[in-house]
Every structure is written in structure tokens, then in C-alpha cells.
């Protein structure tokens, strides 16, 4: 026994030593990482005070790898919005632009736009913000790999008239798209970015970002990024608002379970994750609320479309597409799959925020709804018959119709949804099989046009339905379609109308409605892309540490409670200025 202990004791000691030393050694690499980041102040290793810190999640899916506002798809949450700001914000409730870095923007004539900038705005390094920075930012777009490169197809030049005035001259004035650009583009400082090569602009990490925004970088790690409020932010006097949290910690998503656990432990204040049982969280006594206390619980953020590959048979036939649209039991998806967390979409696909643009007459005439009998009739009328008696219709030439519908593996709500779609289409005699490839494989197939049908919701709410129509119908169709018109639908008439819409001034609501009514008629006649439901602006908030969250009840704020990319400009930032510490 004593001898046995002789072996056991040293091993135990080794184990404990390993435990302790590994525990102790962990900070070293982390520390060096934080040390390389200049903004991390040494000596304040203490915990962030809970009542001054906002914990958020739901935006970042990988470690915060860069702070480059031009990498719009993977910059660390808050890079644009908290650090870099745009010229305007967009107020979705009022449907208009809110001056931000700009004081005003006016069309002095049909092809000239003049911006007046705010005075007294400074970059976080103390230098003043001027018209040159704005011109510089837009001219960065001349580089081919910059996401807004295409504006230079119709923008002729941008020039700084004086420190506070920028003049834009257009070869073709796309008013709708221009407003979108006005609140989407993050303005970067010329004195820091000047001289960066195209490669640095595209791939640069942009550590220690210098912006005009209300927050500065504090630190980051594999699973978080920490922002600290700037007490000399111009907006305190300029806008008369101040974000309440001194620190914002955005936590990288790992899984829904972890997000749920953190919420329940009161460790997270704002979760923009999709949590399947959110309704139960709200109904239970957990101190967690959503925008609406009743279904659909969430604001609508985007539309989930069924994208049909119109280059393949039989999806190239409008009659077949319309029959398919009528065969889908969307109600079952909304109630069964989502438990009423989402709403069924209008046949036009336009979000509820754009309701005024929907031509109800056109929808009443041409719209579709779930009706198996009608779907069967449409198929029969168009010449799709079940000639071999297997219960499914065949192509007009007698060959079998066997279609696949795909969504990324692991997106459980969508996986259930396409099972419902396949089942309800089968009722009407259309043979559809759900399939769940890996996300990357799906992206690959989607961009090459190597699919039958899929679900996509990549376009978000914006200042104008033009962005939606651009997404549905953009021409020309290229070898790879990365962001728009995945179904490769070619219709020159509708594309011409959409360009026409782009050139309607944004305050001309009647003019917009007129063009859109025509577009809607073609959309509903042709049905190349089928609107299914409105995905929510997933947002579960905990009232333990911060209160006065936006909601539909009482006199709480009505801004969107979210940290999602590009949503801070849509009112997400304003939400931060209105919440209150709980104690």
C-alpha cells in the first residue's frame, strides 16, 4: 500500500502541476496578443463592471479577424456602426434618411448631389473629419475589389468643394440606390488610409481602427470583441444622444444552446441568434422579452424566397412555377416549423415595412395562395399530366420530373421547412426531394446555377424595395451569380422597369408606386422566385441588467434591437442610446 502510494503521489503531483501550470500559462499567449493591440490599456485587468457593460451575440460567426469596414462580410461586429460611421442613418419607421455625419444632402439639379457635413466631428485620433475623407472613401471604390465599385459606373466624380461640402456629379442618377449608398458606406479617414495598396484595402486587418464613431477598440480574443465608449464623441452635442453602455462585448456565436444558456444565466443582454423555442422563453418567467409579446414576437428583417433555377426544365415554364407557388403550404411552415415566430410573406415578397408600395389590386388579380386543387388544375391546364400513374406529373415530353430542393445542412428550421414544402408539393403531384448539402457546397452550386431550387434570404430591409428587385431580377446573368438572381431568370422588360425605378427620386412615392405596380404584375405573372415567409429580426433581450428595450408595447423605443451587420445604421445604434441600466 505504501509503495502504491509512492507511485500515485508523484503522478498526482504531476497532474496537478500540469493543471495549474496550464491554467497559469494560458494568459501568456493571450496577453501577448492583447499587448500587440495598442488600444488595450495595461493595468486595467479588472472585470468590466456589469452595470456598464452590454453583452451581445448573434452577429459574429468566427473569431473577430479584422476591423476593416470594407470587408463588409466579416469585419468584427460593430466595426461599422460603432467605430466607423455613415453619412446618414435610415429610420425604417419613418421611411426616411436621418442625417448623421452629413448635415444634409440635396439634389441641386438632376445629376448633382451636394452634401453638407457636420462641423466639429473628429476622428478618434483627434484629427478633424472633413469633406476630403468622404471623397477619399468614395474614390476607394475605384478599386475593383471594393464592394461598392459598381457605383462608379454611374457616378462621374466626387469633389470636396470646401471642408464641409462634397459635390457628386453623376452620369446617370440612380436616386434609389444612391440613398442606399448614403447610409451604407462607412467613411474612413484619409490620413490613415491614404497610400494603402489595393491588397491592403481588401485584406488588411486594420488593427486599432480610427473612426468617428462613439466607440473605440478595447480588446479582442478568439471568442469576443470588446468596445469602449468614446467620451469625446461628436454626437453627444451634435445629435444630443449618448449610447448608454460604457463597454460593449460582442460574443462570437458558438451554438444556440450556448446562447440560450448565457441568456438564462443573465450573462447576455441582447441575443440576435435564432432560438427555436423563443416563444417559450418569452412566455416563461425568465425575464427575457422580444419586440412583440405575442406572435410573431420579432420584427421582420428579410424575406425567405424559394429560388427556382429557371434555366432547367420544367422551372423554365411560368405556368409550372405558378402551380408550384400554389402548392406550398406556407401556413404549415409558419405554425408548425416556426411556432409563429415568423409571418407568411405577401405574394410580392415586399416586407411589411414597405406595405405602402404593394399594389393590392395587382395582388388580388394575380397573387397566389396555398390551394392544392388550384395547383393541380394549373398543372393540368399547362399540359403536365401523370401518364405513368405514379402519382406525380411528368414533363410535357413524358420524361419524369424529379426535383431537389436544398438548404444548408444544420440550418434546422430551414431543413424542416423544405420537408414541408416537398410534402405539400407532392400532394399536388410535383415530385420534390429535400436535400441538405454542406453550406460551402451549396454556395458553390448556387453560384454556378447547378441546383433545382433552394431557399435564400440574403437581402435585408433597406430604404427602398429597389434593393429587393435588384436581387430578384438583375441582368446580365454571369457565369457565376454570387449575390443576386440565383435563379438566372432573364427578362429584359422587368429589368428595364427596375432601372427606371432606380431613377425615380426617393421622395416621389407616387412615381415609385407606379413603376413598382408594373414590376409586381410581371413578378406575379412569371413567378421566377416565390416569396415564402418573412424571417424575423431575431432578438431576445434580457431585462436583468439593461431595460427599456424596444418593444411594441408602451412608450418604449421603436428602433430595431440588433447588432447585425448594416443594422446599426437602420436604428440598431439608436437602440443603444435608449436602453437604461437596470439599477
Amino acid at each position: 500500500m505504501r509503495n502504491r502510494m509512492r507511485i500515485v503521489v508523484p503522478l498526482l503531483a504531476v497532474g496537478l502541476a500540469a493543471a495549474c501550470s496550464s491554467g497559469g500559462s494560458t494568459p501568456a499567449p493571450q496577453g501577448s496578443q492583447a499587448g500587440s493591440a495598442p488600444a488595450a490599456a495595461p493595468g486595467d485587468g479588472g472585470a468590466l463592471p456589469r452595470n456598464e457593460t452590454l453583452y451581445t451575440s448573434g452577429t459574429q460567426w468566427g473569431p473577430p479577424a479584422n476591423f476593416n469596414p470594407l470587408r463588409e462580410w466579416d469585419y468584427a461586429t460593430g466595426t461599422e456602426g460603432l467605430v466607423y460611421e455613415s453619412l446618414f442613418h435610415f429610420d425604417g419607421n419613418a421611411g426616411k434618411l436621418v442625417p448623421w455625419l452629413a448635415q444634409s444632402g440635396t439634389w441641386v439639379d438632376d445629376k448633382t448631389y451636394e452634401l453638407k457635413l457636420r462641423q466639429g466631428v473628429t476622428w478618434s485620433d483627434g484629427k478633424p473629419f472633413t469633406a476630403k475623407d468622404v471623397v477619399f472613401t468614395f474614390e476607394l471604390g475605384k478599386m475593383e475589389t471594393v464592394p461598392y465599385h459598381n457605383i462608379w459606373e454611374w457616378l462621374e466624380k466626387a469633389e470636396a468643394v470646401d471642408d464641409q461640402t462634397v459635390k457628386f456629379t453623376f452620369s446617370k442618377a440612380n436616386y434609389q440606390e444612391w440613398d442606399f449608398q448614403m447610409y451604407s458606406r462607412a467613411i474612413v479617414p484619409q490620413h490613415v488610409w491614404q497610400g494603402r495598396s489595393e491588397q491592403e484595402v481588401l485584406d488588411g486587418k486594420n488593427e486599432n481602427p480610427v473612426g468617428t464613431g462613439a466607440y473605440t477598440y478595447k480588446s479582442h480574443d478568439q471568442d469576443r470583441v470588446v468596445w469602449q465608449r468614446r467620451d469625446d464623441w461628436w454626437g453627444k452635442t451634435g445629435l444630443n444622444m449618448e449610447p448608454k453602455p460604457k463597454y460593449i462585448v460582442d460574443i462570437v456565436n458558438s451554438s444556440n444552446e450556448v446562447a440560450m444558456g448565457l441568456l438564462l444565466q443573465k450573462g447576455m443582454d441582447l441575443s440576435n441568434n435564432f432560438l427555436p423555442g423563443a416563444a417559450n422563453l418569452v412566455k416563461g418567467n425568465f425575464g427575457i422579452t422580444t419586440y412583440y409579446p405575442e406572435p410573431p414576437y420579432m420584427l421582420s428583417a428579410n424575406t425567405a424566397f424559394l429560388v427556382l433555377n429557371t434555366t432547367k426544365k420544367p422551372m423554365d415554364d411560368p405556368a409550372f412555377r405558378k402551380a408550384l407557388a400554389s402548392s406550398i403550404d406556407t401556413k404549415k411552415i409558419v405554425e408548425g416549423v416556426y411556432g409563429n415566430l415568423v409571418k407568411a410573406a405577401s405574394p410580392t415578397g415586399l416586407l411589411p415595412q414597405w406595405e405602402q408600395y404593394i399594389d393590392q389590386q395587382v395582388v388580388a388579380d394575380k397573387g397566389f395562395s396555398f390551394d392544392t386543387a388550384k395547383a393541380k388544375k394549373l398543372l393540368a391546364d399547362a399540359g403536365y399530366k401523370d401518364s405513368d400513374g405514379d402519382g406525380f406529373v411528368e414533363n410535357k415530353d413524358g420524361s419524369k420530373i424529379e426535383l431537389d430542393i436544398i438548404v444548408p445542412s444544420g440550418w434546422t428550421d430551414w431543413m424542416e421547412s423544405i420537408r414541408v414544402i416537398a410534402a405539400s408539393a407532392k400532394e399536388s403531384g410535383i415530385n420534390i426531394t429535400p436535400d441538405f448539402p454542406d453550406f460551402n457546397a451549396l454556395v458553390d452550386k448556387r453560384s454556378k446555377g447547378d441546383f433545382d431550387m433552394l431557399i435564400n434570404n440574403e437581402r435585408q430591409l433597406s430604404n427602398t424595395p429597389w434593393t429587393y428587385y435588384d436581387y430578384m431580377f438583375q441582368l446580365p446573368v454571369r457565369k457565376t451569380q454570387n449575390t443576386v438572381n440565383f435563379g438566372r431568370y432573364e427578362n429584359k422588360d422587368v429589368w428595364k422597369l427596375i432601372q427606371e425605378l432606380d431613377q425615380v427620386k426617393t421622395d416621389d412615392v407616387e412615381g415609385m408606386k407606379q413603376v413598382m405596380s408594373k414590376i409586381q404584375a410581371i413578378h406575379l405573372d412569371e413567378m421566377p422566385i416565390i416569396p415564402l415567409w418573412y424571417n424575423g429580426l431575431w432578438s431576445q433581450v434580457s431585462n436583468a441588467s439593461w431595460t427599456n428595450w424596444p418593444s411594441s408595447v408602451g412608450d418604449t423605443p421603436k428602433t430595431p434591437p440588433t447588432m447585425w451587420r448594416n443594422w446599426l445604421e437602420l436604428g440598431g445604434f439608436e437602440t443603444l442610446t435608449q436602453i437604461k441600466p437596470a439599477s
Binding site: S22, T26, P147, F439
Partner: protein, 331 residues
């Protein structure tokens, strides 16, 4: 002795070569193209920009070169400790990503593997042939070892984390802290470490205890034990000999455990979203990050080889028969 280790080293060298080659090949045979999904994720719609980006990234990652050259480059870079640039955390070098995760994984796995081995062996040996203990240790051991460790992890996270609120459910350290060498931070680190550690420790414990108990019983019934007993040797002495013999297979088992320890915590790390290598592997696969995947697998290959080598040495020390065998081979 030299011959013994020489042969071992040769085998390890060959294994390393084959493992590295397979490691290089596997991600390249995965379906899909990392560059196109990277470009697609960038969401750039301008056709000119798409082509420019594609060419740029293809060159950057060296995918434009012939395969044999990519393979040669891979070896060359490997010896410089360069695993390439991560696609997932672009543009961070893979080695940096891995080094950030390794301490967490080792800090979790080494204590749990070693402690469970020590405690498990001790409990198993102690329980063998003691009816009362045997009746309790054995069923508990079976329950523990049969428990899928992610399930136990979820139970612990739910019970002790969410319901009792004693332990945090996610992360390597509090989201309110920044790494520093303060007491507060280290305490917080340990606080986050307890649950993942416990879930690994408990499951492994059962297996070791059962194994040891069975081995001891086997040894106690063997001829030499009976002989000793017939000679009137005290029970403690017999048990000591039995233990020495019984522990040998357990050491082999430990070697295997140590080898896979780098990857072993994969599911546990995901459950607790613990920022170690396991979480990295999952992300690398999900994002088709060839380079990160290669880097982490490299770590595992090296881990397995080094652990096995150490165990080879330990064997020589603890088992006189190995030494006798080597002497025989030399003669």
C-alpha cells in the same frame, strides 16, 4: 538499447511521413472549392471584382500551382513552422490561431487524462476483491464509462450551470475580463475550466477503474499469486505484485489516450464552447479551411507520436521484461 530505439525512431519517422502526406491530401479531396466559397461569402457582385478576387486568392494560397509542387511547398513550409494562412480567420496565420487554442486544450486534457488514470487505477485496485467496495465501484464505474461524454457534459452544463448557476456554461474565461496575471483572472479561468474538466474526468474514471479491477482480479488468481499465498506471504505483498503487473496494460491504454488527447475533447469543447483545438477542428471543417485543418491535424499526429515515444521509454523503465528483451536482442 540503441537498436531498440533506432527501430522505434524509424517507425515513427515513416509514420510521420505517411501521416503528413495523408494530412495534405484529405482536405484537397473534400468536395467544394474554398476560394469560390470565400469569394461568394464576400458577396461581391461585380463580375470584374469577382474574377480579380478569385485570381488573387488562388495565387495567395498557391492553388494555381501543379499538385506536386503544392505538395513540395507544403513540406518546405512545414519545416519552417509555417502552416499557411487561415481561410476562416483570414488573414491570421494558422500557427497563431493554433497557438491561441493549444493551451486551453492541453490545460483541459492533460489533467483530466492523468488524474482519471491515477484515481481510476487506484479505485479499481482498491475495490478488487473487497466485496462491499466492489459492489459500489463496479456499477458506478459502468454507468460512468457507458455515459457518452457529451451527454454528461450537457447534463453538467444544465444542472450546475443553468439551474444551480454555480458554474459558467461557456467560454474559456469571463466575457467581462481581459487576460492578465491577476488572481482574479486565474480564478476565473479555473472556474470556467471545472465543468469541461469534470465531464472528461468522470467518464474516463469509470473505464480505468473497471479495467484495473478486472486486471487485479485476474492477477490475484494467477499462479504466482497462489504460490505466494501458499508460501504464506502477506496479502499486501501479493497485491503489490498484482498491481505492478496489472498496471502494464493500463499504461498502454494511457499511451493511446495521451495520443488522442489533443483532439479528444472535441465534443466537450463544443458543448462548453471552450476555445481549444477541438472547436477549431470543427470550424475548420465547416469553413473548408484547408490550412487550419492541416495545422490542427499536424498537431494531433505529432501528439500521438510523441506520446507513444514517451510511453515506449516509460515501458523500459517500469517493465523489467522489456529491458531483458532488449538485452536478449543485443546478445
Amino acid at each position: 538499447m540503441r537498436q531498440y530505439f533506432g527501430r522505434k525512431l524509424l517507425v515513427y519517422g515513416l509514420t510521420f511521413f505517411v501521416a503528413v502526406t495523408i494530412n495534405w491530401m484529405v482536405p484537397r479531396f473534400m468536395p467544394g472549392d474554398p476560394v469560390s466559397s470565400m469569394v461568394a461569402r464576400a458577396g461581391v457582385s461585380n463580375p470584374g471584382a469577382v474574377e480579380t478576387m478569385r485570381t488573387y486568392y488562388t495565387n495567395l494560397f498557391g492553388f494555381d500551382q501543379p499538385l506536386w509542387k503544392q505538395y513540395a511547398n507544403f513540406w518546405a513550409a512545414l519545416f519552417q513552422g509555417d502552416f499557411g494562412i487561415s481561410i476562416w480567420v483570414f488573414p491570421t496565420p494558422v500557427s497563431e490561431v493554433i497557438m491561441g487554442a493549444v493551451p486551453y486544450t492541453l490545460g483541459l486534457m492533460i489533467p483530466s487524462v492523468l488524474l482519471s488514470w491515477v484515481v481510476g487505477n487506484w479505485a479499481g485496485a482498491f475495490a478488487a476483491r473487497r466485496r462491499l467496495l466492489d459492489n459500489t465501484v463496479l456499477p458506478v464505474g459502468y454507468v460512468l464509462t457507458a455515459m457518452p461524454y457529451m451527454w454528461l457534459a450537457v447534463l453538467l452544463a444544465w444542472g450546475l450551470g443553468v439551474v444551480a448557476g454555480v458554474f459558467p456554461v461557456a467560454g474559456g474565461y469571463s466575457f467581462s475580463l481581459q487576460p492578465s496575471l491577476s488572481v482574479e483572472f486565474v480564478a476565473d479561468l479555473l472556474h470556467h475550466w471545472v465543468l469541461p474538466f469534470l465531464s472528461l474526468f468522470l467518464v474516463a474514471l469509470g473505464g480505468w477503474a473497471i479495467g484495473m479491477r478486472n486486471m487485479i482480479i485476474y492477477e490475484l488468481e494467477s499462479d504466482y499469486s497462489n504460490y505466494l499465498s501458499a508460501l504464506g506471504a502477506p496479502q499486501r505483498l501479493i497485491r503489490r505484485y498484482a498491481f505492478r503487473n496489472a498496471v502494464l496494460p493500463q499504461i498502454t491504454g494511457l499511451a493511446l489516450q495521451l495520443g488522442v488527447l489533443v483532439a479528444g475533447a472535441l465534443v466537450t469543447e463544443i458543448v462548453f464552447s471552450y476555445p481549444g483545438l477541438g472547436s477549431l477542428i470543427l470550424k475548420a471543417i465547416q469553413n473548408q479551411d484547408f490550412f487550419l485543418l492541416q495545422g490542427t491535424f499536424m498537431f494531433i499526429v505529432l501528439g500521438v507520436l510523441i506520446a507513444n515515444f514517451i510511453i515506449d521509454i516509460v515501458y523500459v523503465v517500469v517493465d523489467p521484461r522489456t529491458r531483458a528483451g532488449m538485452a536478449g536482442a543485443q546478445a
